[in-house]
Amino acid sequence: MSSRERVLGRVRRALADVRPDERPYEEAVGRDYLREHGRRSTEETVELLAQNLADYRAIVHRSTAGEMADLVMRLLAERGSQEVLVPPGLPPQWLAAADPVRIHDRAESTPQRLDQVGSVVTGCAVAIAETGTIVLDGSPDQGRRRISLVPDHHICVVRVPDQVVSSVPQALDRLDPTRPLTWISGPSATSDIELDRVEGVHGPRTLEVILLSA
């Protein structure tokens, strides 16, 4: 007997006492919890996102399309990054004023090579106001998972208000489970040493979020 058969057989025998419940799953579970917490206008939702991002030590900036190129140039200059990682579908005008050399993430680039790059700029799939979370789904303006992970400085652009939702349930509604998803709430952090929070262990130590309005 294969282990698969053995384990499934054990499961079935273990459940001999369970009476069959033929109600549809959603009915059997019931979901009385809220779809979002509190009523907010669109502006208030964006404001809450900004607050919660900042609360988790992300650095929040606001920008319009016209100011973007200058803002990104300034942020990269402040970091002194010589090179910036660029996903294939990033709008080129965001980097129009930036000096650092653009590095494209090619399949053959080794992780060691990416580790030498100082900064990365990406878009995002959705941002969650209640938790201060941005989610990347590997779309062309975000690139492979590794590019937002290895460099020490991540600039993430959120289009407001289109990409902002209030809550976790609303975010899951918008996301496609077949894509690889990375949820980010503030920079990498640990509390393993006497519960003192230290930012930046393995992921980017600095997360800057640009809330970009049309």
Binding site: R13, R31, W183, A189
Partner: protein, 498 residues
């Protein structure tokens, strides 16, 4: 058939281990600070969501429903993962899971792997098994690194090195890092930031060259085949993203039916665990995705005593656990005794009910674990999936004392009463008889009250061992029934409750 292995075998029974731990003042200081800090923060994080009770109830129902139809959801999960390009393996016990993983690693031609912190792989002793197969496993979570370098054992689900203070961590890093790879920088101090930086540098060289990653998972979605890992540091993302081969070893109770179910647990887990609105990083992957992340993905579904636990109608609720560790942080016994006293990778209240079910109660430590609690109920109050830990504890105590039918390694067995519990068995029988004979109970209580000055501090005869670790309650001056009748003028409670 070998017994189920749940890590850390051959340890003293809980009372002895706890007595030793309670005498360690550094440990107690570290623990008190840590548990009280998380406890207070958690209460605030939970108070922030007005529908906590509803989320908790939904979590309970989702998990119960899944457990009640586990065969169906496991088959669906297997199909979804396979469709997405992964390979599913089934492991009936620890030895089989270890063999599968070792073979998969060997087949890649690699002799080292990077690991995301995972209770399941600790439970089966994977690192040791890999070492025996000539494969070196590097723990990459900061706390797990501290534990691994210190040749130590984890003592908390979420903060495994909670028993260590910064000075101890500095010494471990300075002394041991060089043995495993990049040494700690000269002149390393004990500030948390410097220690974290040393870990970053030490581990980065391993991440960047690793070809095989090993993880567990917090959730697996049957409908889509998606696996979810929740973490803070980014070491998880590193292990899930950079290697060419990813092997995930996951307890079969971690499956949830639908994508939508994640909306419940992604709200309750972070708030219960680290008391955050959301943990810094969550990774979700469904099979393999072209050139993004590992090209090869293996899922090892682990039984190792879980189906035996499922067979117990009272005890199966322990399988709802999402390993948030909230119950540890509120437990007065854990706070004093620390995680090591539980002698298993699952410490605290959840360990007290899960380990004896996964492993059976044949050993002394497992037979003693259901007693590692004051039954105060705080663990039940904080549990985000409403596991009635006190109920299961009492149920397991009865099983230890009385024996009875159970399932071990898939077979029905009749457990013998555990040795050394004769006094308790006699006490339980006596209590049962007395409760069934109210007249005798009343007389006995009155007699006890009148003679209370003569009562000993410890029990005589076979009761001595039992009272050696417990304080006997003083007998009240007046039995409750008499007091009730005197102050309420009726002999039964219902009559007085208006």
């Amino acid at each position: 058939m070998s017994g189920t292995f749940v890590g850390m075998p051959a340890f003293a029974a809980f009372p002895e281990a706890a007595r030793e731990a309670v005498g360690n003042r550094t440990l107690r200081g570290n623990l008190r600070h840590a548990t009280h800090t998380i406890r207070a923060k958690r209460a605030r994080a939970v108070a922030e969501v007005s529908d906590w009770a509803e989320l908790r109830e939904a979590g309970r129902r989702i998990k119960d429903h899944t457990l009640h139809h586990l065969d169906r959801y496991l088959e669906q999960l297997e199909e979804s993962v396979t469709r997405a390009g992964g390979t599913v393996h089934w492991a009936a016990d620890a030895a089989e899971a270890n063999r599968i993983v070792a073979d998969l690693v060997t087949a890649t031609g690699e002799s080292e792997v990077v690991k995301v912190k995972s209770m399941a792989t600790q439970e089966i002793g994977l690192n040791e098994a890999l070492e025996a197969a000539g494969i070196r496993a590097y723990e990459t979570d900061l706390a797990e690194l501290i534990v691994q370098l210190g040749k130590d054992r984890p003592s908390h689900i979420l903060v495994p090195a909670i028993h260590r203070n910064r000075g101890e961590i500095r010494d471990i890093f300075a002394k041991e890092m060089g043995e495993w790879g990049r040494p700690a920088p000269d002149g390393l101090t004990d500030t948390p930031a410097e220690l974290a930086e040393a870990a970053r540098l030490h581990l980065r060289e391993k991440f960047l060259r690793a070809k095989v990653g090993i993880s567990g998972a917090n959730f697996m979605v049957a409908e889509t085949g998606t696996l979810v890992v929740v973490e803070s540091e980014g070491n998880g993302r590193m292990c899930l993203t950079l290697p060419e081969t990813l092997i995930s070893v996951v307890g079969l109770e971690k499956v949830v039916p639908t994508w939508r179910d994640l909306e419940v647990f992604l709200q309750t887990l972070p708030r219960s665990a680290t008391a955050e609105r959301m943990n810094p990083y969550t990774s979700m992957w469904t099979g393999t995705t072209g050139e993004d992340g590992p090209r090869t993905f293996h899922l090892v579904l682990l039984d190792n005593g879980r189906t035996d636990t499922l067979a117990d109608q009272v005890g199966r609720q322990a399988l709802r656990c999402i390993r948030c560790s909230a119950c540890l942080n509120v437990c007065p016994v854990y706070e004093r005794a620390g995680g090591h006293a539980y002698g298993s990778v699952y410490p605290g209240p959840i360990g007290a009910i899960l380990s004896p079910q996964l492993r059976g109660t044949a050993s002394e430590i497992d037979a003693s674990l259901p007693y590692a609690s004051s039954l105060c109920g705080a663990c039940y109050d904080v549990c985000p999936v409403a596991i009635d830990i006190p109920e299961v504890l009492v149920h397991l105590r009865e099983r230890v004392v009385e024996g009875g039918p159970a399932v071990r390694a898939g077979n029905r067995v009749l457990l013998k009463p555990a040795k050394g519990h004769a006094a308790e068995r006699a006490a339980m029988r006596a209590a049962r008889w007395a409760l069934a004979h109210p007249g005798a109970l009343r007389t006995g209580q009155r007699l006890a009250s009148r003679t209370r000055r003569l009562h000993p501090r410890t029990l005589p005869g076979p009761g001595r061992a039992w009272s050696g670790t417990r304080d006997l309650p003083p007998v009240p001056a007046e039995p409750f029934r008499d007091w009730w009748q005197r102050t309420h003028g009726t002999d039964n409670g219902e009559g007085a409750a208006k």
